[in-house]
Subunit: 441 residues, 2 copies
C-alpha cells in the first residue's frame, strides 16, 4: 500500500529532469553529552514513505521512474552482542518491499549511477550531506510536498488510526470505570498506559494530561502527584501511538458517582459544543467556523447557568468565550499529534482571543482527520484580571463564578475523519452525563 504514498509524492515533482527524492531516517539521540540513549521514535515523513520504524535507514526515489531504493545500515558482530539479531537484507526486502535494497554505504554509488540534476531533501543537514557528495540539493520543496500528501489520509493510514483510537478508547473506558477517590494522578497514568502493552504499544502520542480537580484549569498540566478527591472532576487527555499514528482523546468525569449541578452545567455546555461540531463535519466546512460555533454554544450554556450575562451576540463580539475556552477547537491528527497541513501556505492565524490558538484553519476535505475538543475552564490567570477589566467585567457574574472556580475545567475530545458525505467518529468512550454516571456507579 505504501507505494501509493510514494506515487502521490512523485506526482508532485517535475518528471522532465533527472532528480531524486532522498530521506534519511531518524537516528538515536543521547542525553546531552552522555551515551545514555533517549527513546527512539522514527521521523514521521520517513514512516509515511517507507513504513520503517528503525533508526539509521535512508531511502531514495527516482522521480522519473518511480524506482524506490531502501538503504539499510550495515551491522557487525558487536551490534549483535549489544543489540541482538542482525536482520538479513532479504528480510528487509520482503518486509518493506523496495524495488532495490542496498546498504547505507551504497548511497554514493547510487547517486553516481543516477547522476540527478537535483536531489530533494528533508532538512538542511541532509542537503549538506548530499552537497558534500557533489550533487545539487534542494531542501525547500520536499516538506511542502509531503505535507500535501499527508494531509489527506490513505486507507492504509486510516486503518492504523482506527487501531490507535481503538486502543486509546479502551484505555479511557478502563480509567473511567476504575479510577477511585484516593488514587493519585500517576496511578491513572500507569493504568492508562498499560492498556497499550498487549498491543505492542509502549509509546504515548504525547505527554498525557492527568488532572485532578482544579489542575484541569492548566491546559498542559504535567503534574502527577495530586489525589483524586470525591466531589471533584478528573480530566484525562491522553492517546496511544500505534505504528506511528496518534490517538488523542479527552474525557472528564466526576470522581464521585455523580456530577454536581454546577459540574453538570459546565459539562453539558461543553458537550453541546462538542456534539454540534462533530455533526457539522463534512467536506467544505472550515475549522474556524466550527470553532466559533463551539464558542457560541459554550456561551449559551454559561448564560443559562448565570455565569455570564448579556446578549449572546454581544458576548461573542466581546470575546467572552475566550476567557472560558482559550484554546483552539481542534487540530489535524495523523503521524504527529498536531499533524501537518493545518494551515495552507499563505494563510495566517486569526488575530482574535482563543481562536488565535487554533492549529487548523482550512476547509475540510475527505480523508482529513481532525480532533474536536472544545473545553470550558475556570482559569484564575484569565478570570481574575477580567473581573477588573472594563471590557469584560460587565458580562461576568463574579459572585456566581468565584464559588465554582475549584471545578477547574472540562474538555471532551474525539477524533473525526471527514468523509465524502460527512464524518466518521473514530473514538468510542462514554460521553453523555448519563453514560458517565452509569460507568462511575
Amino acid at each position: 500500500m505504501l507505494h501509493l504514498h510514494r506515487k502521490k509524492l512523485v506526482s508532485l515533482f517535475d518528471q522532465s529532469i533527472p532528480s531524486v527524492i532522498f530521506l534519511q531516517s531518524g537516528k538515536i539521540g543521547y542525553k546531552y553529552n552522555t551515551d545514555t540513549e533517549l527513546p527512539f521514535r522514527q521521523e514521521s515523513n520517513f514512516i509515511y514513505l517507507t513504513g520503517v520504524t528503525e533508526p539509521d535507514f535512508a531511502c531514495a526515489i527516482d522521480v522519473q521512474t518511480g524506482e524506490y531504493t531502501l538503504f539499510s545500515p550495515q551491522r557487525d558482530t558487536q551490534y549483535a552482542v549489544w543489540h541482538g539479531y542482525i536482520t538479513p537484507q532479504e528480510t528487509y526486502k520482503k518486509q518493506y518491499e523496495p524495488d532495490v535494497i542496498a546498504f547505507d554505504s551504497d548511497i554514493e554509488t547510487y547517486l553516481k549511477k543516477k547522476n540527478p540534476k537535483v536531489v530533494y531533501c528533508l532538512t538542511d543537514a541532509q542537503a549538506a550531506f548530499i552537497q558534500n557528495l557533489g550533487y545539487q540539493a534542494n531542501s525547500e520543496s520536499l516538506i511542502p510536498a509531503l505535507t500535501d500528501c499527508r494531509v489527506n489520509k490513505s486507507e492504509w493510514e486510516l486503518e492504523k488510526m482506527r487501531m490507535a483510537n481503538k486502543i486509546t478508547s479502551e484505555a479511557h473506558s478502563l480509567v473511567m470505570r476504575e479510577a477511585k477517590a484516593g488514587m493519585k494522578e500517576y496511578h491513572i497514568k500507569g493504568m492508562f498506559e498499560s492498556v497499550g502493552f498487549p498491543y505492542n504499544v509502549y509509546e504515548q502520542a504525547y505527554n498525557g494530561i492527568y488532572a485532578a480537580g482544579k489542575n484541569a484549569a492548566i491546559l498542559h498540566y504535567q503534574g502527577r502527584e495530586s489525589e483524586l478527591k470525591a466531589g471533584e472532576l478528573f480530566l484525562v487527555d491522553a492517546g496511544m501511538e500505534y505504528q506511528g499514528y496518534a490517538g488523542d482523546i479527552t474525557r472528564t468525569f466526576p470522581v464521585s458517582a455523580r456530577f454536581t449541578d454546577a459540574q453538570a452545567g459546565l459539562y453539558q455546555a461543553c458537550l453541546n459544543a462538542h456534539n454540534a461540531c462533530i455533526k457539522a463535519v463534512k467536506p467544505g466546512v472550515k475549522m474556524e467556523d466550527l470553532h466559533l460555533m463551539a464558542a457560541l454554544l459554550i456561551l449559551e450554556g454559561l448564560r443559562e447557568m448565570g455565569l455570564v450575562k448579556g446578549d449572546v451576540d454581544e458576548l461573542m463580539d466581546a470575546n467572552i468565550f475566550a476567557l472560558f475556552f482559550p484554546h483552539g477547537l481542534g487540530h489535524m491528527l495523523g503521524l504527529d499529534t498536531h499533524d501537518v497541513g493545518g494551515y495552507k501556505k499563505g494563510v495566517e492565524r486569526i488575530d482574535r482571543p482563543g481562536i488565535r490558538f487554533l492549529r487548523a484553519r482550512r476547509e475540510l476535505e475527505p480523508g482529513m482527520v481532525v480532533t474536536i475538543e472544545p473545553g470550558v475552564y475556570l482559569i484564575p490567570a484569565l478570570l481574575q484580571p477580567a473581573f477588573d477589566d472594563f471590557k469584560y467585567k460587565k458580562y461576568l457574574v463574579k459572585e456566581r463564578i468565584l464559588p465554582i472556580m475549584d471545578i477547574g475545567g472540562i474538555r471532551i475530545e474525539d477524533n473525526i475523519i471527514a468523509t465524502e458525505n460527512g464524518y466518521e467518529n473514530l473514538s468510542s468512550v462514554p460521553k453523555t452525563i448519563e453514560e458517565i454516571e452509569h460507568e462511575r456507579s
Copy 2:
C-alpha cells in the same frame, strides 16, 4: 550544600583575572519539527551547580568573588494558562539560595557590570551566545573542571544516591518476589517503574533491560514482548533517577522457585566475581585490575562446570573470559548513569577483548561511586565463530556449552562508594542463590 560544589569549581580557575563561569540549563526538546514536547531532563552539570531541575534557567559565577547569580525565565499570563503557576523570584531565591536572583533578560547587563576578560562556557553554542554579546568565551576549560569536581561525590550527592539506590532496591526486591511465569517482560517493567511514583520518581536513569530467557544474552536488549517461562532465568537491569542521580542495579533470578544446576553453576561463578570485586574496593585500587579479577573467577567457575578446559592462566592469556564476559566490569555512577571521569586525560582504553569496553580505568578514590557488574553469557554471535576459531576452540567444551545456550545470561550489579577505609554498598537486594530461592518460593 551546593555552595561547596561551586567553591570547588571556582578553586580550579585562575582567580587573578576577572572572569565568569556561565552555564545555560537544558531547554525543552521537540519531536523532530513538531510541537510535541519530549520529556525534559536537566543537563547534569547544571544540576550539580544549582540544583535547578526546570528548563530555561542560566547561572553565572564570578570567579574572583565567588558571587553566584541565578537567572530565571520570565513567564507571562499565557504561560500560566498553559503550564500553570508562575513561581515568584523570591521563592526561587529561597529555594536555590543564589547570592543574586535575576531574569534571563538581565544576562547582558550582568556581563556589562562584570566586564570579564573571559567567560567559561559549557558548550560551543553557549560560547557563541556569549561572543555575540561581545565577550571572549572559552568552551574548553569548564567541562574538564566540572568532571574533576563531579568524580568525587559530596555528602549532598551521596545522600541522593543512597535514596536512588533505596528506591531501586525496593523495585528489584518487589519484582523478584512478584514476577510469575506467564507474565510478559512489559509487565515487569510496569511493576518496577511504578515503585518510584510514591517517591515522586517518574524517570528511569536509563532504558531498563527486562530480559526473559535467552534474551539476556543481548547485552542492551530492549524487547518487551517475551513471556517469562518456568525453568528459564529472568534478568532485570534497571534503575531509578532520584533528583538527577542514578541508581543502576541488576539481578537475575529463576522464573521457577529454584535454579537448575547449570543455571546455579553460572550464577555462582558470576556471584563469586561480583563479591570478590566489591570486597576489593578501596582507594588506590584500579578498575582494570578488578575487571581481570572478575574475569579469572568467572573462568574458574566455567572450568569447574566443564565448559572450558585448560590451565586458567592460559585461558586468561587467550582472552577466553571475553567470550563469556564481553563487557566492562563497571563504570562511574552519579548524575549520569555512565558518569564522567572514568578515564583521566591522556589515559587510553586497553586494547584487549572484553576489557576494551571498560568505561572506567583509574585508581579509585574516596567518594567515587562505581558499579560492580560482572556477567556470564552464552552469546551465539561470539561463541559460534569461536567454536571454529583455532585461537579459541581448544579451550571450549562445545558439547557441554551447546545444550545450555538457551540459559542466555546472568549479570549481578550493585552500586559501591569507595570510602577512606574501603567501601559502602548502596544496593540491597537479595543476591545469594539461597536468598533468591527463598524469595521465589
